[in-house]
């Protein structure tokens, strides 16, 4: 059985990471930006799993990290959505460009 080479997996995660970065920088809707951040986190997750499998096959460290990151991502989504709801209450908008009060 052919194993998938690590290069392919790394290519996937890098693409996913930069798609996330692009989304984070170009989307104006905050919910979409949150989704872009999730993409970045998942790119990291794939890296962890892949490196764990190929470099330290007998260990589970990378997998644990992945589970941690999933838990943190859930918590982060809860906080971010709470912030977005509050912003919506005060600004009547979730467009990130509208929320630029904290400047010089």
């Amino acid at each position: 059985m052919h194993e998938i080479p690590i290069n392919h997996i790394l290519f996937l995660s890098t693409a996913l990471f930069f798609i996330g970065v692009y989304g984070f920088l170009s989307r104006k809707n905050m919910i979409t930006m949150l989704m872009a951040v999730e993409l970045i986190l998942n790119a990291v997750n794939i890296n962890f799993v892949a490196f764990n499998k190929y470099l330290f096959p007998g260990k589970l460290d990378g997998l644990f990290f992945t589970i941690f990151i999933i838990a943190i991502a859930a918590a982060e989504a809860a906080v971010a959505i709470a912030i977005i709801i509050n912003l919506y209450r005060s600004h009547k908008s979730i467009d990130v460009d509208e929320v630029n009060d904290m400047k010089y």
Partner: protein, 646 residues
């Protein structure tokens, strides 16, 4: 056996506590604060009298010599292993005498002010300032240490400043208080340098040690002080002269006298206390305190004291003859009498008979405090009655204010030196001392004595005679001569002006602490007394009834009269030197340098910072995504840096 330390310490501490109390809670106390101040002053005066009694009759004299006793000495600031500033109390004949004079006159002024300052809005503030002044002055005379003297010297200056400017809504009072403070400040700079020179050379600031080390020829301290010189004058002479500059500033000696006449803007009781009886004699006291050094080690400096004294005395007497503000006449007369005290010290010797001048000076200080305080308080009553300081508004008041009239006359006779009033005795001692030492000073002193009689009686006749008695029922005669509190001090001081001359002063206060008999030679007294009588007669001729003579005389001596009336243009000279020369030549360039160079440098730094901030402030846009771009760019930058370039 030592005198009671706590008793002596309480003399200055009571007025200080009173100052704190009145200063902090005066508003609540109201009119009661005057009574409180007076009562505490009375206690203090009582303690001072008790101290004087103990010192002069029980503990002071050992083997026929009055001792200098340091009853308390607290080690305060240590500068070098040798030099320290202590806080102490020194009892010797002059400090004990000054204790009595200061507390007594202060008590009289406290009582008088109960009536004079009644209804004043800042009544309790006035009393707290009086207490502060009394405390500082008592601290000054008790000082056991040259630097302690300086500290209290400045405190006295501050309280004088506060009291001159008491009517702070009057621009003239404000500028007078500033003038007094600045002029004496300049003199005090000299004093401070003098203290440092003496302290450096003698390696001590303690009066006892200082005098001990600087009067013996074989003392190494004295030898180095004489050996080191600056501009051809020895360090010792410089030190003593600079200390005398400080004394001259406080005592209004020429040419630092300009503040004293202006200081009359203060309330009249203050003039009586500070600018007649106590603070202005501080300079005399200072010279007397260091007198052994002056006389035994540096007679040159003492000659300077003598000539400055006699010149100021004559100079002030001439000006006093032309002034029309009664308080200014008294101010110049004060200056003249202090000149008397100064030159008396200047012509004095140290031991035995030769110390007559010193004794006379202290005696005159004592008697002068009594009759000059009386004159000022009398003038205060007149001003209270007339509401004016100008002679031309007065005249014929002898029936309207009989008590003031009689007491004022007594004081005038005393200052003119008519026997048997107090001034006669002290003036005789001074003139006798001058006669033995220096005939020039003696004759000038004699002329001054005659002029003193003339201008004092010019004042007296102009106030109480000259015009018919103003008719009763005239608009401002509603309150009579003044309340009992104003009359009582006049009465007591008049009694003192008559009687204190009979105190055998030579038994108590002499240069070397030994007994010195007050001898009177009737033949010697003929000249001064007849000259004084001549002066009085002349004044009577001119001013008893209004006539043309004074005006005619003024015209015939127009140049002299005009320049004396303008106080010999000393104020104008000061204004020229300060405003024209110092302001234009030093002040303006310095201001330019400050504004352009110093400020410019600071503005440049500030401008650069804010300009740079202006440039980069746009980065903080509030847009989350632009921050994120910078963040990723930074990460990328670091990645490139660490991977490829490091």
């Amino acid at each position: 056996m030592m005198p009671d330390t706590i008793l002596i310490a309480l003399i200055p501490i009571i007025p200080f506590l009173c100052f704190l109390l009145l200063g902090l809670t005066g508003k609540k106390l109201g009119a009661f604060s005057g009574l409180l101040g007076t009562a505490s002053m009375a206690v203090s005066a009582g303690f001072a009298a008790l101290t004087a009694y103990q010192y002069f009759f029980h503990v002071g004299k050992i083997d026929g010599v009055f001792q200098k006793m340091v009853v308390f000495n607290y080690h305060w600031l240590q500068f070098t292993p040798e030099i320290s500033i202590n806080m102490g109390m020194l009892l010797d004949p002059i400090s004990v005498m000054m204790l009595v004079v200061v507390t007594f006159v202060s008590l009289m002024v406290h009582i008088y002010s109960l009536g004079y300052m009644k209804g004043e809005e800042r009544f309790s503030v006035f009393y707290s300032f009086l207490s502060l002044f009394t405390f500082s002055m008592l601290g000054l005379v008790l000082s056991a240490n040259l630097f302690q003297t300086y500290i209290f010297w400045e405190l006295v200056g501050v309280s004088s400043f506060l009291l001159i400017g008491f009517y702070y809504t009057k621009p003239s009072a404000v500028s007078a208080s500033k003038k007094a403070f600045i002029v004496t400040r300049f003199a005090d700079l000299g004093f401070l340098i003098g203290i440092l020179i003496l302290g450096f050379n003698a390696k001590t600031l303690d009066f006892g040690l200082l005098i001990e080390r600087l009067i013996h020829v074989e003392s190494p301290y004295l030898q180095t002080a004489i050996a080191s010189s600056f501009m051809g004058v020895s360090a010792l002479t410089w030190g003593l002269l600079l200390i005398f500059v400080g004394g001259a500033g406080k005592s209004a000696m020429f040419p630092l006298h300009v503040w004293l006449p202006d200081a009359m803007e203060g309330p009249t009781p203050v003039s009586a206390l500070i600018h007649a009886a106590t603070m202005v004699v501080a300079g005399v006291f200072l010279v007397a305190r260091l007198f052994p050094i002056f006389i035994l080690s540096c007679p040159v400096a003492l000659d300077v004291v003598a000539y400055v004294g006699i010149f100021s005395s004559l100079f002030a007497a001439i000006i006093a003859c032309t002034q029309t503000d009664i308080k200014r006449v008294l101010a110049y007369s004060t200056m003249s009498q202090i000149g008397y005290m100064m030159f008396a010290l200047g012509v004095s010797g140290y031991e035995g008979e030769a110390g007559l001048g010193y004794m006379g000076s202290m005696f005159h200080l004592f008697t002068h405090a009594m009759f000059k305080a009386l004159l000022f308080l009398g003038a205060g009553s007149v001003i209270h009655y007339i509401h004016s300081n100008e002679m031309k508004d007065m005249g014929g008041l002898r029936k309207a204010m009989p008590i003031t009239h009689i007491t004022f006359l007594i004081a005038c006779l005393a200052i003119a030196g008519i026997p048997p009033f107090a001034g006669f005795f002290s003036k005789e001692e001074i003139l006798a001392a001058a006669f033995h030492k220096n005939p020039v000073i003696f004759y000038v002193g004699l002329i001054t004595a005659a002029m003193t009689a003339f201008y004092m009686f010019r004042l007296y006749f102009s106030i109480f005679w000259n015009k018919p008695t103003p008719s009763a029922g005239h608009d401002h005669h509603h309150h009579g001569e003044g309340p009992f509190t104003m009359m009582l001090p006049l009465f007591i001081l008049a009694l003192c002006s008559i009687s204190v001359g009979f105190i055998p002063f030579g038994q108590f206060v002499t240069a070397d602490g030994q007994f010195l008999a007050n001898e009177f030679h009737p033949m010697f007294s003929i000249a001064p007394v007849s000259l004084a009588l001549g002066g009085i007669f002349l004044a009577m001729l001119f001013y008893k009834n209004a006539n043309e003579l004074p005006a005619k005389l003024a015209v015939s001596m127009s140049v002299l009269y005009a320049s004396a009336y303008r106080k010999f243009y000393i104020d104008e000279v000061y204004l020229f030197v300060t405003k024209r020369l110092i302001f234009n030549l030093l002040g303006r360039p310095a201001a330019w340098f400050d504004r352009t160079i110093v400020d410019g440098l600071m503005n440049l730094i500030g401008g650069l910072t804010s300009g740079f901030a202006e440039m980069i402030r746009g980065l903080q846009s509030g847009k989350v995504q632009s921050y994120a771009i910078w963040f990723f760019a930074g990460v990328l930058g670091f990645a490139v840096l660490f991977i490829y370039l490091w």
